[in-house]
Symmetry: C2
Subunit: 123 residues, 2 copies
């Protein structure tokens, strides 16, 4: 069996705080919580989740790796409003405003995008 994707790891300054934010955003429970590692995921049996580990430094430049999130058709504006209320904010990474995606950042500045709903990866 080849390697498989297991976690997206996000360096965090406030591990429980950032994990709580993303747990709310994705409606994923906190699966394990230790001082230096907090894991969220769809379920304990899911192959893939997000792991928060201590950051050496604060976020200063645009991340080279980020998450794209998507929604069901019709839910996007409501969902964007919801994550803004959870502590996300709009950020400018050079987008023109004509893109089909919205660029946000989590409470520690990690950029993520909310993309147009798609029925599958190449929709």
């Amino acid at each position: 069996m080849p390697l498989r994707a297991h976690h997206v790891v996000i360096d965090a300054e406030d591990l429980p705080g950032l994990a709580a934010f993303w747990s709310e955003v994705l409606d994923w429970p906190i699966l394990s919580e230790r001082e230096r590692e907090v894991v969220i995921g769809p379920s304990v049996d899911a192959p893939f989740g997000i792991c928060f580990m201590p950051a050496g430094e604060p976020h200063t430049t645009k991340n080279r790796v980020h998450l794209d999130l998507t929604t069901e058709v019709g839910d996007r504006d409501v969902e964007i409003a919801r994550v803004l209320s959870l502590g996300a904010r709009h950020v400018d990474v050079g987008q023109t405003g004509d893109e089909s995606w919205v660029v946000l950042a989590d409470p520690e500045g990690n950029e993520f995008c909310v993309v147009r709903p798609k029925v599958n990866l190449i929709g």
Copy 2:
């Protein structure tokens, strides 16, 4: 429905090249290929994949967001040798060498870890 994770997006200097590397690493086919967006994933119906988009600048500092990969028990050393042969390299991000994970970087310097095989997210 809440937001769901759709892609990990990696800013790439050589989109087809970096997509080919990760396609081999994960045994995920290339699902779509455009000049400014290449997508790989387990299948067209899979909810989650990796998207490569143009990078503004080369990789210079440790990424704040990275992927953890895992293997079946017994396959790790073989898989690490395989990804090294594909163009990965060992990198030093301050690890002591006593960790249960191995830190590598892709051909453009994006760090990723190969972690101890786990039966599930909290194993």
